[in-house]
Symmetry: C2
Subunit: 381 residues, 2 copies
């Protein structure tokens, strides 16, 4: 029997790569649900190819166009609640959560509550509500399978090892395009410069996050929840070639690592197949030809966003929510030309320092803390 | 209940490291048997510390000395059959096989037949009789746990993975002290030069093998049997820093690797603890400080011993026995100043090319093929 899969955020980069994995393993999957923000053209093509039972489109004009274009047997849901409705009403074995930003939070919770596997690509749910998600997953017997290449690498290294044998998680970081810049040079970085990433082709916000190393900071917070390891046992190592995706040090002083070419389809496939692995025709890493790999400690003085993330996860409660919200506000302001590059950590630090709720309760409490932090951050611009 | 352990070759480098691991895990082990070639002084000290039930010493004068010095409750066995007798007469849960050369073969077989774990450090049993050992292990339910750092790394990478998901084993090689030498320079290498290894402190013969890369060739043969993977799926990659101990590529194009400082106690402990890992106080690899790691393909023209090993394992039957025997004869002759460095592969190639038994049957057939090949090799000097 084929596994029934729902892909939330199916027209984005992760969503499309995920459907590519499904395409290569047609005998294993049946796509039952798809969701997108506004790209009705792409979604219509995906409907024609994968024949899902239901789809969801948040943007209303897009939804109107798709509703008249789609075959009548396909349910087309509207509004921001579409993804949650898909998850709650469709029978599924796995949900791929690839909706960008905090908008993905509710649908992740809905999937976790069904006790099925959730292959998770968006950072925000784990950064904002990692503790809640993981305890709900435990309660309902749901597996949270990471799609991020770093977390996938750690998950692979932890494969059937005893949790109490883990000494340290080691997240690798490309260091971004500004690795070699001085603090002074960094202050003058323009949006155009920040949007060029040396290894991965990604969205605008995450590319800037990668350049400030906030991306790695958010990953530290994700790892803390995904693998139930305190932040002080999570280390970041700069590795410009991005071949070693991450590592785990064990108590016997062995270090396990996962390596590969930068292709998101590898961690996506593993999130779906684990603990098994499926044969793929993707390009293989030639270890003999990989030449030189470098590793060095990150410079926290030049990349203060990483320290801010450690600070937030240590504080706990709403602090990671406030960190994430302030970062989103600051990056948006930077891309809009309203603040300078060096102002990004400044706005985040200010927001973290201001009063705000530290305790969070339930999904609504999280959304409130998020909104409050955005408000504070805007005041700090 | 403590595991009952026999250490064969307990006064050698691996044996002493093994007892160091036992010392650090006294609550887990009871040493019941020890064996050595001739070092009665060291063995007497080990008896005093670990209080085994029986010990064995091959060399007769050493045996006489020990027999009068050892406490009366300890059985002291004599002769080359001592190790086999230890294994056959003592109740044990694990045997560490660290007897150098072909002499270790019979005791490995004896241990395998008991259906217990055999932590194997010496290459020869697997090179000479890998197929027989592995099928006997399967039949009797014995686990063959590799101690070599490379094979331990691969074993760790394979941890609970499906065998049919393995695409390639990747053995790393330091490349030895002559990595950068030209073919002409290699021809003039002296024994003193060949005995300086850049990373590991080892015995004389294995240090020369490391410099010719025959060591890696023998490891390819071992890996072929240990992991039931054909030689054409086993790749050697030169990695001068010897931090990545080896890797496995899977069919999903993920590569798993094991890293660590060069300390034999790590793979020894894993051979005893696997699939668990025990906490150790050994120095940890600092990934952030490890700096630069290099990887490159081996140069088979300058290091023909590696090609010869692949040739032998492809041929199968007695060919690996002949390769190993010829190499031992040639290295001994080189260390004795009777042949030059470039003659080592020449003697081996000649021996492999000469007529000799290809089929082998049983332990005696193996020993006969070994003796015949030594004879041939001596004729080729």
């Amino acid at each position: 029997m084929r596994r029934r899969i729902i892909v939330l955020g199916s027209t984005g980069s992760i969503g499309k790569n995920c459907l590519d994995v499904v395409r290569a393993n047609k005998n294993l999957f049946k796509v039952v649900g798809l969701s997108a923000q506004s790209n009705d053209g792409e979604l219509a093509a995906q409907i024609a190819e994968f024949k899902p039972e239901k789809v969801a489109l948040s943007n209303e004009p897009s939804w109107r166009r798709l509703r008249s274009a789609a075959p009548r047997r396909v349910g087309v849901l509207a509004g921001d609640s579409g993804p949650v409705e898909l998850v709650e009403t469709l029978k599924a074995d796995v949900v791929v959560a690839a909706i960008t930003g905090g908008a993905g939070l509710a649908s992740v919770f809905a999937a976790v509550k069904k006790g099925i596997r959730v292959a998770i690509a968006n950072k925000e749910p784990l950064v904002m509500a990692g503790g809640m998600i993981m305890s709900a997953a435990k309660k309902h017997g749901s597996t949270i399978a990471p799609i991020d290449s770093e977390h996938s690498a750690i998950w692979q290294c932890l494969h059937k090892e005893r949790p109490d044998r883990v000494a340290r998680l080691i997240l690798t970081a490309s260091g971004g395009p500004f690795l070699g810049m001085t603090k002074r040079q960094l202050a003058g970085v323009t949006p155009a410069q920040a949007l060029r990433h040396p290894r991965w082709k990604m969205g605008r916000k995450i590319t800037v996050d990668s350049s400030t190393m906030m991306n790695k900071g958010l990953e530290v917070i994700e790892a803390r929840w995904l693998f139930d390891v305190p932040a002080k046992k999570i280390e970041v190592v700069v590795h410009p070639q991005s071949i070693v995706h991450s590592m785990v040090e064990f108590v016997d002083s062995s270090v396990m690592a996962q390596l590969g070419l930068p292709d998101m389809r590898v961690p996506i496939a593993y999130a779906l197949s684990a603990p098994d692995r499926w044969p793929s025709r993707l390009r293989r890493l030639s270890v003999a030809e990989m030449g030189r790999l470098d590793f060095m400690p990150p410079d926290l003085k030049r990349f203060p966003c990483l320290s801010l993330a450690y600070e937030a996860v240590e504080k706990g409660g709403a602090a990671p929510i406030r960190l994430n919200a302030a970062n989103e506000v600051a990056v948006e302001a930077f891309l809009g030309g309203r603040i300078g590059y060096a102002d990004i950590p400044r706005v985040i630090a200010k927001t973290l320092g201001r009063n705000g709720p530290l305790k969070i309760g339930g999904l609504e409490g999280i959304m409130e803390a998020d909104a409050a932090a955005r408000e504070t951050a805007r005041g700090c611009l």
